[in-house]
């Protein structure tokens, strides 16, 4: 007790928050993995996992144990350092954005006045991980995947930023709490439908999900940048992907869907998290449905779509917003 009282309470709060977030992150990975397989199953008219536990609910835990127990094979000709760093580099930056996301009015680890910027920055680091992993693997397919990932993420970060800026022009703040606070009466999806659409499309591309899963297009590049990874190295990439999806969906909820706002609940300042999670998982459900329905686009089509359609529309939208807001 003595030592704890000496430490600044803010530090303890942060420490607890990080532990909670990391735990949640693994839990989210497990839930999302299960949901993906179950939804994919039902989309494809089969039951999905059924054997382990009730309706296969423990399947992901069994798979997690399997992945943990597997050997991390390092091929002979790889760059050993880069090869090992890449999964960590992909996993670490996805923890930080969760610190600034307001799950409800009182449930937020830290409200930064530049919170949105932190999220965007950390999102960019993820690309580094794919590049490092693809380059370090010393495999042509991995290299293809890495190159595609870089080009794709650069192309799609611009529309993401532009659509975010439209919201920021309306709220005059980068703080996520402030943005949600401004949506008490009307959600921004009503005022900014184009920005919302652009954000969701670019978000799917940013997380390398189908139909934009070109960096790991398995029918072309076997498995893309993680061709050579096995065991925990692979599962860290996998966890990072699901957490990235969660972050993209949370940011969409914060920016456009009114965050924790919803019909009033008792202890609303805490239980707003229920509405928040409902919205987030609804968006994630949509992303999963899209993945199991559409074919993959070709790379030049993907780039054309970003540069010829999304960015001009986002710019026009931003311009109109600026004019209307400042009038």
């Amino acid at each position: 007790m003595e030592t704890i009282s000496i430490l600044p309470p803010e530090l303890i709060r942060m420490f607890i928050a990080v532990i909670v977030i990391i735990t949640f992150l693994f839990l989210n990975g497990i839930m999302m993995g299960y949901a993906e397989r179950k939804i994919a199953g039902h989309v494809q008219r089969r039951p999905g996992p059924m054997e382990v536990g009730f309706h296969g609910i423990l399947q992901m835990i069994v798979d997690g144990v399997k992945l943990l127990a597997k050997e991390l094979i390092i091929p002979i000709n790889v760059d050993r350092n880069l090869f090992r760093i890449a999964p960590l580099l992909s996993f670490t930056p996805v923890i930080l954005p969760l610190l600034v996301i307001p799950f409800s009015e009182k449930l937020q680890a830290r409200d930064l006045n530049l919170g949105l910027l932190l999220i965007v920055t950390m999102g960019s680091i993820n690309v580094m991980a794919l590049l490092v992993g693809g380059w370090g693997s010393n495999n042509k397919y991995s290299m293809f995947g890495a190159m595609r990932a870089v080009a794709q993420c650069i192309a799609y970060e611009i529309p993401i930023l532009l659509s975010m800026l439209a919201v920021i022009l309306m709220t005059n703040t980068f703080s996520l709490k402030g943005i949600v606070g401004a949506q008490e009466n009307i959600w921004f999806i009503v005022l900014q439908p184009i920005a919302f659409l652009i954000y969701i499309i670019s978000g799917v591309a940013e997380t390398n999900r189908a139909p934009f899963d070109l960096p790991e297009a398995e029918s072309e590049l076997t498995a893309g940048f993680h061709t050579e990874y096995s065991g925990m190295g692979f599962s860290l990439f996998f966890l990072a992907e699901y957490t990235n999806m969660f972050i993209v969906a949370s940011v969409a909820t914060v920016l456009f869907l009114g965050g924790w706002h919803g019909p009033p609940l008792p202890y609303g300042e805490y239980l707003g998290i229920v509405w928040f999670f409902l919205k987030v998982y609804f968006l994630l459900f949509l992303m999963i449905m899209v993945r199991w329905t559409y074919p993959r686009v070709r790379f030049d089509q993907l780039m054309n779509f970003a540069w010829k359609y999304l960015i001009p529309f986002a710019l026009v939208n931003l311009f109109i917003t600026a004019v209307v807001v400042k009038l």
Partner: protein, 370 residues
């Protein structure tokens, strides 16, 4: 595509296959690439060569029957059909009409199964995961029907010289009718899920255009040829069995791109359903096997028989020397010719387009290597 100096200097080789998700089996395509552009793709064959033609020379004709199903295991019954019809033509054996009708019904069922599998696998190449499960769902019904009468699900050995190994019962007729009804409704689902999908159209339209002239030069047959607008179908042009008695169309495409090849196959499935329905309506009674001597002696001379397999024209060419073993049996498989145009077709295209083209040809590698 312009070949710039930069591309010339930065050439590298990429081994696509023999273990690659979209070469479907053990095909190796040696790609000379520059960036994501394919400059020179070279198919390398021979990874699953099993000497089928040599095996035919070393045993009595019946002994080769099971081998025919193991060349193109996706659509095995036309292979059975071609072989038995060849020997029947050579040895002068008459086949009872009921047997011919059942041969047509089962062959067409097998063709639909093959096209369904192709549809799913092709969409898998394009990155859509769901259609293959839908295709397998429908194909499962066909496999069940065929399993009940032939005893196997994939590598059938059902036809015999002069007929069939056994007769079908009313349950088969009923199950086939139910399937035809069910399949008619399913086309709508495929249309909504695949054919109308904008990404699918963008990935296949104007990709891998085979001109009619090019198709003729390479000897492309089957849906790949009909996709280029040439209405050549062995069932119509050199009719065999009881096909002339049925009313069906030969669907053709216009541009010869991947989308046309896709559409031709989908419409072919509908035509196959029509044939099956007519054959079921007119299914005659009678024996299913003619009297055939145990040891079939082949008179000296040569003989040829062509059938329309799911992938194109399959023709058996036999030279006999008066014994019960063939002196030489040459099998002309459609996939080999279909693959041969890959190099001309896909120099200077993107890697994803190569996957799309390769998939649209509906290759079965064990058939190419034999």
């Amino acid at each position: 595509m312009l070949k710039t100096d930069f591309q010339e200097q930065n050439r590298f080789f990429l081994n696509m296959g023999p273990q690659h998700p979209s070469t479907h089996g053990v095909l190796l395509v040696l790609l000379e690439m520059s960036g994501e552009y394919v400059l020179d793709p070279q198919p390398v064959l021979g990874y699953i060569h099993r000497m089928h033609e040599k095996m035919a020379e070393s045993r009595p004709v019946m002994g080769f029957m099971p081998n025919t199903a193991r060349m193109d295991y996706v659509c095995a019954l036309p292979y059975n059909h071609g072989y038995v019809a060849l020997i029947e033509r050579k040895a002068g054996i008459e086949v009872p009409p009921r047997a011919e009708y059942i041969r047509v019904i089962t062959s067409e069922l097998n063709r639909i199964a093959s096209h369904l599998l192709w549809l799913g696998a092709y969409l898998l190449d394009l990155g859509a995961f769901t259609p293959i499960l839908y295709g397998f769902d429908d194909r499962e019904h066909i496999l069940d029907i065929l399993e009940n009468i032939t005893g196997s699900r994939l590598t059938y050995c059902y036809y015999r010289f002069g007929g069939l190994s056994r007769d079908v019962d009313d349950k088969f007729v009923e199950a086939t009718r139910t399937f035809v009804k069910r399949m008619r409704k399913r086309f709508d689902i495929y249309k909504k899920l695949v054919t109308d999908n904008i990404i699918f159209i963008k990935r296949t339209e104007d990709i891998g255009v085979v001109s009619p002239d090019m198709a003729r030069r390479y000897g492309i047959t089957g849906p790949n040829l009909r996709g280029s607008g040439i209405a050549y179908d062995v069932r119509k042009n050199e009719p065999y069995s009881v096909y002339p008695e049925f009313d069906f169309e030969v669907p053709v495409g216009k541009n010869g791109d991947c989308l046309d090849r896709y559409m031709v196959r989908v419409r072919e499935m509908e035509q196959s359903l029509r044939i099956i329905e007519q054959a079921l309506d007119r299914l005659p009674d009678g024996p299913v096997k003619a009297k055939v001597p145990k040891k079939i002696k082949l008179p000296p001379g040569d003989c040829n028989f062509a059938v329309e397999a799911a992938r194109g024209e399959l023709s058996y060419y036999l030279i006999a020397d008066g014994t019960d073993k063939p002196y030489r049996l040459k099998i002309r498989v459609p996939s080999f010719s279909n693959l041969s145009c890959l190099q001309e077709l896909s120099s200077g295209i993107l890697l994803p387009d190569l996957v799309s083209i390769l998939g649209s040809f509906d290759l079965v590698i064990p058939e190419i290597d034999r």
